[in-house]
Amino acid sequence: MGKTITIQPITRIEGHARVAIELDDAGDVSDARFHVMALRGFEKFCEGRPVEEMPRIVNRICGICPWNHHLASVKAADAVFGVEPPPTAVKLRRLAQHLAWIPDKLLHFYFLAAPDFVLGPDADPSVRNVIGIAKEAPELAKKVVHYRYRGAMLLERWLGKVIHPVAAVVGGFSRPLLEKERQEFLAETREQFEFAKFSIVHARTAIFPKYLETAKTLGVIDTGFIGTVTDDGTHDIYDGKIRLMRPDGTFDDFGYDEYTDHIGEHIEPWSYAKMPFAKKWADGEFSMDLDHPVGIYRSNALSRINVCDRISTPEAQKELELFREQFGCPTQLTLLYHWARLIELVNNCERAIELLEDPDITDRDIRTPVEVKAGEGVGCVEAPRGTLIHHYAGDAEGLITKANLIVGTTHNQAPINMSIKQAASGLIKGGVYDQGILNTVEMAIRAYDP
């Protein structure tokens, strides 16, 4: 007789999810599902709200990546009102975007993911966490807590709120960067850069080599990828065009407002999360069959590292070349998300330093006057977890009539389902499993940092 194994809640991720693994009569895996258990309904309750208020409302979608929602939203609001922010405001938004990514990357790698790698997938679950790491490596833990905190507090000192920010406003930015702040932040960000370089070297020399065999199998599936690139194909997290790459490496590039031509959403009756897919690849077909997936693509760090032609900053580009030498491009190895995340950590520090080295960033022309009018617009940025798509329409009073939101991790819903099925099928045979095996299935989820 078959049975269902329930893992609930999925831990060391953000939000509410459970995994159900179905075993057949022989105790082998016949199916596995990732159930997203909550739905807040932002698309509905944003209706009727003033367009200019949206960046202060939808940042609450995520407390880990509120800046990214804030910025995608303000770009959509600019598009609805047809307003172009001054160049300095764009620089300030971009600076906030890069600065916000730094603590996010440290949080995921060290606090959420590392316990599996440092303490082991089958370690005692009561110590397999960041507190366990603090006991194992107290000096490193102190540094991690410190740098994540400093990174967050830098934004708080500059713009009041690091969680659920307010400073990106339709038409521009609410306050400039002062010269004194520019110098202070530059010095601090250079320190962050040193720690970022330490982190990636430490991970690729002392941590990842032990898991390369596991990485060849755990959660590996065959999919396409999504990410933002500039016109010449350079990795970019603030602005550009969306690149949707097929599993064979060919791709389509498109503008934000063309997203509905390329992306559809599939809905299953057993999860509140929708499953975006590439609707042009097979005439709107969708399948999560592990042997013959159709329309499935992934987002987040590995995806962006796969779709870009290059990275604009020297240290991160060097890391990208090392990575591609070893794994090729595109690579499908799911655990490499962690490695890709650290390449982006290095890039974010370098991009923030570049912006802070630009003396014009302290210019005072930071907001274009805005007139309320009816309109429609799409705003996108990359969140750490993937391409954010905020699509709003507003009426003549500047109130929202329609909102459609595709958020970072949503892109990964179908891939996560496939990866857990793939992982569970390989790990559970004849009905034999233990907490270490179930946690290893969860590792396939954590790679996506949902």
């Binding site: 609930q8 509410h16 509905k44 003033p50 507190i131 102190k142 709120k161 406003v169 306050r175 595709i406």
Partner: protein, 313 residues
Amino acid sequence: MAVTVASEWLNACSGCEISILNIGDAILDLIPEKLELVHIPALVDSKYFGPTGDGDRLTLPQATVGLVSGGVRNAEHEEVLEELRDKVDILVALGTCATDGGIPAQANMFANEDVLEKVFKSCPTHDAIEAPKDVVPAYSDKVKAIDEVVKVDTSIPGCPPHPDWIADALLALLDGKTEWALPERSVCDTCPVIREEKSGGGPIKRALENAEYDPDEPIEKMRCIMEQGYLCLGAVTRAGCAGKEGVPRCISARCSCRGCFGPIRKGAKPLVDMMGAMSSVGLEARSVVDRRAMLNRFVGAHGNLRPLPPRRK
């Protein structure tokens, strides 16, 4: 002996949990020597049905303190909240979603069916489809603050709460206190801007341009944003967003307050009080665009927001 803490998030975004981490370097003095985290899904692998999922009912470990972020939106949230209440001595509502509904309680302006209908039947990226019903928990009748479901001992409001207050409340509980509360003061009471108790009058301006200020001058030299004619909810919002000292956080970004710390005292009605505050400086209070949602942005639980009749065209 460390005090045990069990933490859960309900209809939440995880911002409150990140705010706990934003206690910063000092958190290593608290955990694990003084506080032992026995359950916190964000950080620790503790499962409702045991490590291999064999349990037959949702079970949380016993703890002295329970921390809950997020309000209640569905049957699973209710079950988790009731189980946590049973297992802890002191239950703390962490953040404005838990204390007053928060942003997700804006959904209380709509019937549940309308929310699900919009999300699953009228988005441009897919055809209309029935809302998911298998395994996923059904919606509660509305979005609730947690004190609408269980008894709450202590509230730490804020979206998110400031880490100073989280640490302060936890240390008070460590000392054996069973209650802790923020002082009943308004954001305006802690705001250093220049106030003249009057404005230029007229309708309330929307946030379409920056307030007037000289960026090279400290905030003490800026005129009150409400007196400049913009909506600012400081007068009806509990103080504390900047922690134990400092300028209210949104004001320090030269933006106005939207009320994320909730009402100054339990049961106060920000909508009513704010209308009075605007009128008192000569502004046309009724001109606030999207007034009901705007003045109840963070406090949609406790019956403050209910479904509206359809908007007249």
